[in-house]
Amino acid sequence: MRSLHHRLAALCATLGLALASCGSDPDLVVYCSLDQEFAEPLIREYQERSGLDIRVEYDVEANKNVGLALRVREEVARPRCDVFWSNEFAMVVALAEDGLLEAYESPSAASLPAEMKDPDHRWHGFAARGRVFIVNTNLVDPGQIDSWDDLLDPRHAGKVAMARPLAGTTLTHMAALHEVLPPGEARRFLESVDRLSREGRLNLANGNAHVMRLVSEGQCAFGWTDTDDFHVALEKGAPVQAVYPDQGGIGTMLIPNTICIPAGAPRTEAARRFIDWALSEEVEARLAASRSAQIPVRPSVARPAHVKAPGEFQPMRYDLRTVGLSIRARAAEFQELFLK
């Protein structure tokens, strides 16, 4: 019995030590909602180059970036994050407006287009994703689809999909439509989406990746998704093609990554060095060449042939800050519409 007690005590001590040892103090803490698969190798490389011990904490896709933004808010009394690398901009704009970000004018940001930067240097946008239609070429001719309202076309009833606009890039996209379309038009569109989904004529998937899957597998003919999801489908050999909608109209929406330093970050110097590196043309080129095929916002950045430059298609013109500021009100509005 005594021997058993000793063994149990040893087991508990080992477990305790193992658990405690998982929390050593790093040189830099990065909250990163850019997909782990793409960010991990890049950041590991920077870690080796800089010699810094970097702890990266990722978000899960289901959170749509909000988990980390919420943590930045919750940890305001004791900030532990030095750099927040977000895969979109709306939540970062909200953090900036609430005074939760620190200004930093990175030299690497000099070449970024003006619309991709906060005038007060609290955040910078780079490497964007496009909101495109993924089309299954076995089921429909991509030439038939060219605008956002093709989703409502009765010819495609039951065979179209989009993610519910309650979070992520779809929420941001719908919020932007409210800014760029004539008053009331975006609202009417979403009411039609809600009605058609209740009638089973439009499928509301649980995310853009799911839309991609439904279209790739032929369960839907086309749907709205992000360019990174489209490229995953293409890489897997699915019979799909991307349509950049509304060329000649409102244009195709681009949603950039954003990077910022939370107010009170404990390791500011290392954070600034990291941001200089992340905003470099080299990183933007690497993201363009990765599986996610992010679209560089600087024309000078090298990119593979399959990644379009903003000059090769017409991007939607909208103000990141205005859309970011409207996001909470829009989210509440869409929630009332779609969750009842």
Partner: protein
Amino acid sequence: MSRGLVAFAALAFAFVALGPIAAMASRVDVADLAALDLARGAGLLWRTAQLGLGAAAIALLVGAPMGWLLARAQLVGAQALRALVLVPLLLPPLVLAMACMGWTSWRGGLATAAIMGVGTYPLVALYVARAAERIDGRRSDAARLAGGLAAMARVEWELVRPVALASAGFAFAFAVNDFAVVDYVSSLGPKYPVYADDIFASWRSGNDTSKAVASAWPLVALTLLVVVPALLVVRRSPLFSYEGDFRPPSRVELGAWRWPLSILAWAVVGATALAPLLRLAFEAGGGARGFEPATLGRSLVAALANGRPNLQASLLHAVGAACLCVPVALVLGHALARSRRWLVFGTALVVLPLCVPPILFGVGNLALWNRPETAALYDSAWMAVLLQAGRYAPLFVLGVAAATAATDQRIEDSARLAGAGPARTLCGIVAPLLASPLAGGAMVVFVFALRELDAAILVPAANGTALFRLYNAVHFGRDEMVAALALWICFFVLLPGAVWSLHSRRNMGALP
């Protein structure tokens, strides 16, 4: 039981399980409570209740007979059935949904209820099996002598019914607090929004904790309304058949029914455990693009190589949570069972962490532990352990309480009269009597901690778990990787039981 010991365990439980809820509740703005859209919420709540009741009914209908058969009858291949029946419980709900959807095009609310029921019926089977083993053999024998197998089944059902209903109550709690499975299953065809969806959307879309917490109370109330009465029924059940000279029930000879019932049990296990596992293996081997055994091998090797640190972290957190729960559950479960004054209030408090939407439980942990005084703890892996222990300790405490209620208090009284102190009585008398429920409870916590994602999503230490990696891989269409990692998770959870089965002649009491 010493008041000091109980106070210490209650304090530990309060800190780990109730503290996050209190921290979360303190964030609510009264204006958000007043602004609740009850008319819109009522529709969602009604749909949610239907889903929960459907899932609970399926879990009960499948789990109760299965648990009884596994505990009391000698089915063909019983040893394998005992291990395999747990598989749906081990799979993360979304992975189970994806595996099931791979076989069928059935969608909508009923399909969701069926998947949630399939995912939770092993819990009912587990508790019913434990209850069936505690029935005094003389009662069964008397019933059988008087009226044959049917009479015995009726008597035993009366005895295990409260436990079956209580565990179906847990199935209800899990079903109504889930939104990912519902959202996934109704991605094609008419949408099926539920109340948990609304809470998550409030939190996710607006970063608004106050609104999310305020909107959660009707769902918490609904869950408590179902779970607490179900648990109280257990306390009043006639299962207190343990006497000082308790005799375990003998195996039931099924006679001509042995083969048909075995085939039925295997069919259920085949559909709910083997089919999802086979689907995962199929996906890991290339799926619809062409299955190849070599691809399956490569996927498994790659998933293990990429996910090794994540699997290690998951196992460490789950083992830590299970170990941490053992002393708390032993003391608190025992005290709850022996108490009369605190029974209703105590049960409601104990079950509360399970009735709170998981994402809000995670937010509560953040609010409670992210302080300068507890910074070291917050940054360490202990944070994930505390969160998992807090969330799933209720299952363990209530299991121990039910088992304690079925033991003879006179044994403890005798020990006390003989001069044994409270700690010695607890360790030397109560703990050995409850060894099997303790092992079973620890296993339940281990399993749930291993597959937990929603509550842990925000905690830094949970960032490196296997579930975290798995869900991110889902997003990238890494079907092989997702399936292979899910298979590894299953393997690691089943491994202890499988080793035990291979090397021991005794049944593992923790299994059904």
